[in-house]
């Protein structure tokens, strides 16, 4: 199974990697328990920074698509196929949509919502939540 990264694409490199690993799982090109290359190997092969690949692996691990077993390496998660179907971005969008609707009903304008959203996000980023 081969992954292809386009450095000129507008999609961030780590997101391309996450997307392609998920696609590989969904199309059964890699299955549960299959070993994956180390961060260093993949970064060197794709000529990317180790941190970029590490970020992609971290997101895949968060989504339970892959799992790291200490020194033994990284493997495809036993429930990777089901977990790939869960679209966290979609879930976040629908939650936000619901919140914005209730705020509008309460009479808050769009610009006030934007400012409030920005402030909350900034505060959370500073606090490191």
């Amino acid at each position: 199974m081969q992954v292809t990264i386009d450095v000129d694409s507008s999609t961030p490199l780590f997101a391309q990697l996450v997307q392609q690993v998920k696609q590989a799982v969904q199309s059964d090109q890699i299955t549960a328990g299959d070993p994956l290359p180390s961060i260093r190997q993949l970064a060197n092969d794709l000529e990317l920074n180790n941190k970029t690949v590490a970020k992609a692996y971290r997101l895949l691990e968060r989504d339970s698509v892959i799992q790291t077993k200490g020194y033994r390496g990284t493997f495809v998660h036993p429930e990777a196929k089901d977990n790939c179907a869960i679209d966290l971005e979609q879930a976040a969008m629908s939650q936000l949509d619901h919140t914005i609707s209730s705020l509008r009903k309460a009479g808050i304008t769009d610009s006030e919502i934007r400012i409030a959203f920005g402030n909350v996000m900034n505060n959370r980023t500073i606090k490191g939540d």
Partner: protein, 280 residues
Amino acid sequence: MTLDILFYIAFFGQIVLISFIMPRKIDKAAHYVLNNFPAENYPKLYPMPYENYEKQYKYFVLLCRAVLIIGVVLLGLFVSGVFGSDMQRAVPLGYFFVQYLPLIMIEISSRKHLKLMRNDEARTTRKAVLQPRRFIDFVPPRIGIAAIFLYISFAILAIFVELFDTGTSNGFSNLAIITLADIFFLGIIFWNLYGKNQDPYRSNETRLEQIRSLTKSLFLINIAATSFAFLTLLVNFLSIEVAESISLVCYLQLVALLGMPSLKFDHVDFDVYKKDEAVI
């Protein structure tokens, strides 16, 4: 006298093998690539102007001839008696390093060549295989087991010699040299396994095959080096009289044979060096 004649034959073998047969093989391989994969059809294979390759090749041939002549002169000095039997160890060993100068020159040129290839690469897409390359998958099991077994045996012998020897053998220093050589070889293997891909066009299959061949070759050299060190230590410890110079020359030839670069191109996918087709 018989030992001297045997030494001449062995030294002649070293000269012919490393400074005549090996360069001829490299010459044959270079011509095979140049004739079958010309710059017009495979432009990515030649990041430098063709004349530069011709110039480098000319220097290589000249250097090989010079080293061959030096070897013949040295042999003549031995046969004529200018060099005595006390030189039969130092001269072949020193000459062995000189013999590798043309190969070192090739290695430096190929590094430069690959660097230019990487600089020339205009692709915006990069590919990688989602499969780990594990060291263990590249070591032939029998060779790996033999290397480990030999190293452990040598370490036991070195410790034994240090404990019971009268002081003529250097068990620990030999063990340290072999250990350092092993670490160096492992470093080369790991660098090839996990390091940056030197040739940006090389296919994954070609890369794996080249790593496999390199690993096997380095393990065999390791086995030869450990065996030689083991036997030398044992012979010194038991105070057996043997012609050390002859065994050294034979050993150097064995190392040269085992370390001979793979010049077969069956597994190399040359299509990757073709010109990219224009996208309309």
